[in-house]
Symmetry: C2
Subunit: 73 residues, 2 copies
DNA sequence: TCTTATTGCAGACTATAGTCTGTAGTCTAA
DNA sequence: TTAGACTACAGACTATAGTCTGCAATAAGA
């Protein structure tokens, strides 16, 4: 699994929902700069963080993972 | 998301495959004691670790997450 | 018994997830 | 020009993921 795939998925999902990094961070109670790190592939979320992000994006956590898998092909 | 759900799923999947913690650890290049910590809900894997575990269990990472979601209900 | 396989668990450690503060760059609208 | 919204990024920090070593407990089989 390439390190930056999740970041790309996260950014796509966030932009589709017209959310700023700051607004997303607020929704999932994470730091704004950490969202930036995730999107740039400089951090890997834990499973608990994945669930928080998915909830904020109103998507199933597993669906987020599916999108990462699809990018792996 | 309750902290120990993933651990239960992991243990179920491992036992279905008749793998010891040690063998699973070897397959995904993680420490045996860490598998134990995961199964007991004392650690949360990162996304990268989730992918490693799924590969060792010969299952899609997203399918692992689906099982955690199902336990959340 | 004894041995082997398996797992829990403690303790000390290293690597990285996640926070906090601040600065600078870009873009858009007034 | 300037002000506001957005983001990249640096640095120093705290919390937790993940490793390593070793010991104790249990169960199953010779």
């Amino acid at each position: 699994m390439k390190a930056d795939l999740f970041g790309k998925v996260l950014q796509e999902m966030r932009k589709e929902r017209h959310l700023s990094q700051e607004k997303l961070a607020e929704l999932c109670e994470l730091d704004r700069t950490y969202i930036s790190l995730l999107e740039r592939g400089l951090r890997q979320p834990t499973l608990a963080t994945l669930f928080k992000l998915a909830a904020a994006l109103e998507i199933n956590p597993s669906e987020l993972v599916v999108r990462v898998e699809q990018k792996s092909d």
